[in-house]
């Protein structure tokens, strides 16, 4: 495994689109406050951010899909090195979308990210692929491409809309999971890219929070908003430029839990229910 695979790509902030949309979200916060305490009005105030987030999520799933297609081509060509790179590329897109995969698409999530499962999903491919074996990979790779294509189709459908409660649930759960098995070796152990998984998970949390919730939370409780944003950065710092041997697992565990607690505290500010952290 090349060393570079085990080290998260440093990227201080979310994409420009996320930052720009974050500013718009903050402006909408004024409207949120003036709307009063109604749940429906609060949801409307979050609608713009939710729409922006959908674009982000589609973009990431398409990265996952395109990576899987490259993987498919490389496997057919018998090029293990290219196939490994494509798997990692696909995986990064998937992990950044994880706030919504299990929450909104549980069946597809189960098929794509099954663990432990030697027949389907990323990990059934990962285990032999990173041992340099391509035999028998055609079927699970074809299935992965098909499942991701279906995911993309359902997500991109004009009628599909995220609900704010589900998004808050999704990022709170993911923050908790960063402090769980993900901080203790992760799932992509054969590729050695578990730190990348955590990094992209946090990017996904950051995107949802900044695009959808930050402005509204800031309008009601600027101190809480700052604590959440700082905690997201803290989680990033735990995995930035790190490999598994150098990650402070205990610190990451604590930061993940603290982020989840802070996101739970944001719920009443958003007129949402305390996020459920179960699957």
């Amino acid at each position: 495994m090349p060393t570079s695979f085990a080290t998260a790509t440093p990227r201080r902030t979310a994409s420009f689109a996320v930052r720009a949309a974050h500013l718009i979200s903050a402006a909408l916060a004024v409207a949120f406050v003036s709307l009063g305490a109604g749940r429906a009005e609060a949801a409307d105030a979050l609608a713009k951010g939710i729409k922006d987030y959908k674009s982000f999520a589609v973009e990431r799933i398409e990265i996952a899909l395109n990576g899987a297609k490259e993987l498919q081509t490389a496997v057919k060509a018998g090029d293990a090195k290219v196939a490994q790179g494509a798997w990692i590329k696909s995986r990064k897109g998937w992990e950044a979308a994880e706030p919504i995969t299990g929450e909104f698409f549980p069946k597809l999530d189960e098929a794509i990210d099954a663990w432990p499962d030697a027949k389907q999903g990323y990990h059934a491919i990962e285990a032999p692929l990173f041992a340099g074996k391509l035999d028998g990979l055609a079927a699970p790779v074809d299935r992965l491409v098909a499942d991701l294509a279906e995911f993309d189709k359902q997500l991109s459908a004009p009628e599909f809309r995220f609900e704010a409660q589900g998004l808050l649930n999704g990022i709170t759960k993911l923050a908790y999971e960063i402090g769980e098995n993900k901080s203790k070796g992760g799932e992509s152990r054969y590729a050695g890219t578990s730190v990348n998984d955590i990094y992209e998970n946090n990017e996904g949390i950051e995107a949802v929070y900044k695009l959808v919730f930050s402005g509204a939370v800031k309008a009601r409780d600027p101190k809480l908003d700052k604590r959440i944003l700082d905690k997201i950065e803290e989680v990033e710092d735990f995995v930035k430029d790190k490999d598994l041997k150098s990650v402070n697992a205990a610190g990451l565990n604590k930061a993940g839990e603290e982020l989840a607690v802070l996101l739970q505290a944001a719920a009443p500010k958003l007129k949402l229910k305390k996020p459920a952290v179960g699957e």
């Binding site: 432990p116 499962d117 074996k133």
Partner: protein, 449 residues
Amino acid sequence: MALAACVAVPLLLGAGARSTPITTKEGVLPSGTELNEEPLDQPNELFASELAGGKRSYLLNLGDLLFSSPAIFGGVARQAGISCETCHQQGHNNPRLFVPGLSSRPGTFDTTGALFNAKADNGVFDPVTPPSLRGAKYLAPYGHDGRFASLRDFVRNVVVNEFAGPEPSPQVLDALVAYIQEISFLPNPKLTAGGHLSAEASDAARRGEMLFVKPFRRDAAMSCAGCHQPSGAFVDHQVHDVGTGGRFKTPTLVNANFNAPYFHDGRFDNYGDVVGYFDRRFDLGLSEGERADLVAYLDAVGDAKEPTVRNTVQAGLDEIAAFVSVLDTAIPAHNQDVIALTVNEVGGEWRELGENFPDRSDTSVSGGLAERLRARAAVRGLVLTLRQIEMASAEGDYDQAAQAFADYRQQVAVATGELKMAEPWSLLNPAIRDAHFAALKQLADLAVK
């Protein structure tokens, strides 16, 4: 519950993994090493206070927490998630312990290697067996070479010198010593309080008892019982050179059936090998039958009524309840260090318990999905409520911490029902466990080049 039996994988991955891969790119571990499947049966741990009809003290529970916490160590050990518990599971030993470069075989560990503290490095590869701590208060001096007369000094040496931890506070040492001194020998119906065999022992064991106290034919001043004194927990509190490369203290034979491998360096797997060694070393002239009788005697002395206990939801809940009771004292005392320690360790215990309930992505397990998901959700809620306690106390808001602790207590009552409801579909069920680990092994097999 014990930390993962194997420290090898955490070291390879650099994380305190409990659920770890069966194989890694870095290599395959020796046969006998526990990889990721913590046995369902755990060493039984009994405390003297409870055996006497009392209850665990605050100091005992705090010591138990510290014993399980990597935070008292430093450097590599802390980073790798290693704690006292790693080598002494449930206050016992760990025959599956294997640290690459520091173990000669499973169940051994070089405490004077450079990995965990360069200052401890004696330049010799000399792994020893971390001993069982059952009955430790009767077994001074401490360390295989008996260099420490005091348990407290020995514990400090482990923390500071062997594992590069910061100088422990008096409270930390008090608690660790209190915990270790409470770990009792396990009841053995074959042995009387005075160290004689009871009516439950076999005839062969009785013949062995006679040989055990019989003077050696080449030196009438010596006998097995001369060092392993039956009336004194089968020790003499001395170190002796029995030809194994130095002077080492007499180990107890009480409950020793569960202490293999034997001798300071774990060179012998069984009593037969041990008796054979002494027969040759001291020219005892034992017949085959006499050796068998001595083995039967050791087997009777070393037995225990209930050496292991099954890991269940209730066992996990009981241990967590003991640990978390520390907060009853620490929150009113505004003791932030102890609150943080407790939240981190108990949160880890809850997570470990929760990981026994496979989620939706675990396709190796069918049935009980709704129950499993509810159990996982309950555990997660508890972990986050515990974290609230720590966050509030860190801000100096002990009223809020106390409120969160009250919430936690209520949540535990609900979670207990959810966990027990889901237990049949959990990894605590041997059939489910087998299916889960078979799936993990399938993946691992795919990863073999």
